[in-house]
């Protein structure tokens, strides 16, 4: 870890509590979504179980909460964020409402996307969250372009561009980072390195020293950070985003974390070593932050209250999602395009 650990060490209890709260909200959302998704994936031609509330591929960020929480604590609502297929945490941390998000997962008209996107495309443009993306690495050039627009239009917004460790092997990683560097754009690239690309250990598919080394070779300064230490992520993001805001061009944060669950909700992840998983679970970013808060003197009641609040919020989101109506069939023909929209012609 090259991160300068001192600012993280000096974190104020209130700031850490806020980060803790964000992580709790994400965790509660993921847990609830996971339960609601049981039977919801259409496997091998069998339709999804009729009773499943959340259907289709569901990529949970459980265990990775410190990265979006720490990064987004340093973003304003007017900043932008691009995301991945594993985007719930990014959305919540950026300010999307869990209620509208859960509606989206339920495929309801009250959803962030009106039911058109589901988990893989969750987005809240009003919070600057430009969308989860079903195509690995596709958000990278989009983030560069968003930053380019900011540069041209003026203003001090920045873009945080999240992607996984698997994305560094796709061409748009190179093209997007190069773009941001060449045009000196205000982007913070954030590689959420959970060590796996679907069922494959990313290391076995990645030549060289990985994400940070590649970024540096393209001229984008890079820093590694313990992605399970939310204070460290916060401090690193604060430092890098300050550089970005000063106009120094793109920066790169390589956050080392772990995916607690399978790649999708139905993946038992048997390809992972039990000992490895156990070690990783012991680094639960929420547990670590909780212990740290306790050590900083935040009392147990306060921590319990934060947990209960987060869970209550998600319980309300679930209820709202259940109550929200399904979109009407005719909504399927809306938002295609203005000119040339239609049905069959």
């Amino acid at each position: 870890m090259e991160s300068d650990s001192s600012p993280a060490d000096r974190i104020a209890p209130e700031r850490l509590a806020a980060l803790y709260r964000t992580m709790l909200r994400i965790r509660a959302f993921e847990n609830a979504a996971e339960v609601a998704s049981r039977g919801g994936v259409a496997a091998f031609g069998a339709a999804a179980a009729a009773g499943a509330l959340v259907r289709g591929p569901l990529h949970l960020s459980t265990g990775q909460e410190a990265v979006p929480a720490g990064v987004c604590a340093n973003l304003a609502r007017s900043d932008y964020l691009t995301s991945t297929h594993r985007g719930h945490g990014h959305a919540i941390a950026k300010g999307a409402e869990p209620r509208a998000m859960m509606c989206e997962l339920f495929g309801k008209s009250g959803g962030t996307n009106g039911g058109k996107g589901g988990s893989m495309h969750i987005a809240d443009f009003s919070a600057g969250m430009l969308g989860a993306n079903g195509v690995v690495a596709a958000g990278i050039p989009i983030a560069a372009g968003a930053a380019h627009a900011i540069r041209i239009r003026g203003g001090d917004a920045v873009v945080a561009c999240f992607f996984g460790d698997g994305a560094v092997n796709r061409g748009p990683f190179l093209e997007g980072l190069n773009w941001a560097r060449v045009f000196d754009l205000p982007v913070l690239f954030v590689c959420e390195d959970n060590r796996y690309s679907a069922t494959t250990a990313t290391e076995s598919m990645t030549g060289g020293e990985g994400a940070a080394a590649r970024a540096r070779a393209i001229g984008v300064p890079a820093q590694q950070v313990d992605g399970n230490d939310v204070a460290a992520v916060d401090a690193a993001a604060a430092r890098l985003l300050a550089l970005v805001r000063e106009g120094g061009g793109p920066q790169f944060l390589h956050a080392l974390t772990y995916r607690f669950k399978g790649h999708v909700s139905v993946d038992p992840a048997t390809y992972r070593d039990a000992a490895e998983v156990e070690r990783a679970l012991a680094q639960d970013p929420i547990e670590r932050a909780g212990q740290r808060l306790a050590a900083l003197g935040v009392d147990a009641d306060r921590l319990r209250a934060l947990r209960e609040e987060a869970e209550a919020e998600i319980a309300r989101a679930l209820a709202a999602a259940a109550a929200s109506p399904a979109p009407p069939a005719h909504a399927a023909y809306r938002d295609v395009q203005d000119c040339g929209a239609g049905q069959w012609r």
Binding site: F44, G45, G107, K116, G117, T199, M205, W344
Partner: protein, 330 residues
């Protein structure tokens, strides 16, 4: 003769090809764990990681490398996971694989099979549900296949692997679990359609998963006194004009049904050809020109389905206009 799923049938065809021809290799992400739909299950164990090649997430390299492999004597079978991701490798598919033989004056061959699972896979939304077989039918140099049954997936995958030119091989994600009998010796020649049901009043051409809907619609139509001949096209390029046009000439009417968007879909090619050649009445039913939405009610609008086929077909036969059912509107 074994009963197996569409996924198992493909797996079994590939295993057989790999046993019979050591030049055959499989390339794609997560193949070592059997592929995301289990369509490579057990192959890595049998043939080893050198021939069942786990690839980085890099579709350009997967397909580009396959072109290089094919030029240097291998016969790669390439997994694209879903057709939507193959959009990350269109240069490699079209400019590199399809044009290679021609632009280099026949010096080389590119015997690769690119597997592009198409179609709606319930609740997978816009970026995991598209069907783009028409693009490849429009592309010189490519053979285009889309089997609808386990037996044909077995028989056609074998034929595709044996083909000396690039084949775009479309499996349907909602067919993986469908079971059927698969004769071990089964092999289907590329370019041969199959008449699945004989009929007198109308020829209904389809392919891939929509064939199941077409058959269901044909059965219901029979109850209404309309006798429908159902043809599974199986290969889109070259398509079996002889079988289709002969049937059309007998029935005097053609309907084409496919899951891909109707506008500029491959149904237009077939319908236009039948109109040109025979001057018979033609109609098409493809998806509306909308992306596939996530919510069930939205996704349903993007599905053809047997009910829509039946309604369109009966309405048309009864002269109630070309398409009677109307999509819900505001």
């Amino acid at each position: 003769m074994a009963v197996m799923s569409y996924a198992q049938a493909a797996c079994s065809a590939l295993a057989r090809a790999m046993r019979e021809d050591e030049r055959v290799v499989a390339v794609g992400e997560d193949l070592g764990r059997g592929g995301v739909f289990g369509q490579y299950r057990g192959l890595a164990q049998t043939f080893g990681a050198a021939r069942v090649i786990d690839a980085p997430i890099s579709e350009s390299a997967i397909l580009g490398a396959a072109v290089g492999m094919a030029l240097v004597g291998l016969r790669p079978v390439v997994e694209m996971r879903v057709a939507d991701f193959a959009m990350c490798a269109i240069d490699e598919m079209v400019n590199q694989a399809a044009k290679n033989r021609y632009m280099f004056g026949g010096q080389g061959r590119v015997p690769l099979v690119a597997r592009l699972p198409i179609g709606i896979w319930s609740a997978s939304a816009a970026q995991h549900s598209q069907s783009i077989e028409a693009w490849f039918a429009h592309t010189p140099g490519l053979v285009v296949v889309a089997p609808s049954s386990p037996a044909d997936n077995y028989g056609l995958l074998r034929a595709a692997i044996a083909c000396d030119d690039p084949v775009v091989y479309h499996e349907h994600k909602e067919l993986w679990g469908v079971d059927g009998e698969v004769p071990e010796a089964h092999r289907v020649a590329l370019g041969e359609a199959k008449v699945l049901r004989a009929g007198r009043d109308l020829t209904l051409v389809s392919w891939s998963r929509t064939v199941l809907d077409a058959l269901e619609a044909a059965q219901s139509a029979a109850a209404s006194g309309v006798s429908v001949e159902v043809i599974d096209l199986r290969t889109l390029w070259p398509w079996d004009r002889e079988t289709v046009l002969a049937s059309c000439a007998r029935t005097g009417r053609l309907m084409v049904a496919h899951e891909a968007v109707q506008a500029a879909g491959f149904g237009a090619e077939i319908a236009a050809t039948a109109a040109e050649e025979l001057g018979i009445p033609v109609t098409r039913l493809g998806a509306p020109r909308i992306p596939v939405g996530y919510a069930a009610a939205l996704e349903a609008e993007a599905r053809i389905g047997s009910r829509r086929i039946l309604e369109a077909l009966l309405a048309w036969m009864e002269g109630r206009g070309r398409r009677r059912f109307s999509a819900a509107t505001d």
